[in-house]
Symmetry: C2
Subunit: 248 residues, 2 copies
Amino acid sequence: MNNFKVNKDIPMPLYYQLQQTIIEKINSGIFEENEIFPTEQVIIKESGLSRTTVRQAIDNLVNEGYLEKRRGVGTFVTSRKRNYWDLEKLRSFREEVEMRGSVSSTKLLFIEKIDSNEKLEKIFGEDIKKFYKLERLRYRDETPVILVTTYVPMNYAEGLEKYDLSNNSLFDILKKDYGVKIGYAEKEFRSNIVDKNDANYLDIGEGAPIQKVDTITYDEKGIPIEYSISRDRGDISVYKVRLNYKSE
Amino acid sequence: MNNFKVNKDIPMPLYYQLQQTIIEKINSGIFEENEIFPTEQVIIKESGLSRTTVRQAIDNLVNEGYLEKRRGVGTFVTSRKRNYWDLEKLRSFREEVEMRGSVSSTKLLFIEKIDSNEKLEKIFGEDIKKFYKLERLRYRDETPVILVTTYVPMNYAEGLEKYDLSNNSLFDILKKDYGVKIGYAEKEFRSNIVDKNDANYLDIGEGAPIQKVDTITYDEKGIPIEYSISRDRGDISVYKVRLNYKSE
């Protein structure tokens, strides 16, 4: 069981090779989050590397946030707080996060009234002239995960700006106070690179990957009631779907 | 209808502002692929910019591949050949591509026999010791779109290396010649940055976004028969899903 193989014939420092091997195992799920990590002794034995080399690799991984030392217990794989979304049912961010035992919160960055534009006309038709535009940042525990821009036709939700949209779900407000009956949503997923402004809010580097999710939500009659463009952190967000094989 | 608004008060060249406005409109679908693009005259009138400025912006967009001039017809929005996947049913790449009127092709880069490893043991169990590993590059028309690594337990498909895996669907071979009854698949989507090797095959720059799709396919009895890791070009791949609102 040589789990920590390095290649002594290539011109790459051994501690660095070991580090990369461990990162791969974390990213591929072989070492799971919150799982105890093998001791220095085990790694020395399985890799054939010196104590200095092994220690350097582990220290670097702790500094980079892949591993964490818990006093008196050992070294653990850091919880990366992957955020899983099951694409089975239309659920709100809060529902998905809380289903998995974390705490969700939302910060309203702004709400404003805007005129329609070409994109909104394509979705909502030309008769709707005014929209609320909301910008919200959503957190899982303390980590910013999603930045979302939402458009709601003003005639469906007159007075929306008076609500506390940091502490109340938009869907709940639409349902309870505006009598909207939510039917279904169409989503499109694209892998993209974050822009400078969003990187700042999401606390990730420029050039980091995001999942761009465009959603149009319809009511029970098939009338569009909301359009949103969500930028979800690529290092955190995972979308799961189960597909049945088509009958032929 | 000022569709091409620029701001003369900010220190950014006007042709560049115009260019960015047009790119946004293409990316957001306001100007659709293969659609005729407004003439120079129209843009001059709607933007209030000079002929030189408008021409410079359009020439740059042609050079960057956003627009194309068709002799005697006009300027068109270049077809970006977006590849749409409906996450409704489990379909093969070929089926999805051909449903939308394009031609799919596949190039087998290699097939080899490998021993199990930790990740494969987690999926297929410890009893399966040998796997075929395939590396395939998939094209939509002439464009490389997907690079996919596939693992198939050898005992399910002994002799697989004798097939022409560039011109035959793996699923078709498994079904027809090995009697596998495909049941369902579980997929996970993550937004990621391409690595150097993959960038080369997919003909995209380093640092470009990809959609990493992990799939485990099961037979009708729920036994895993295939595991694949697909890297799909982010500039091309769009995944669509329709979700019904959960009843409460």
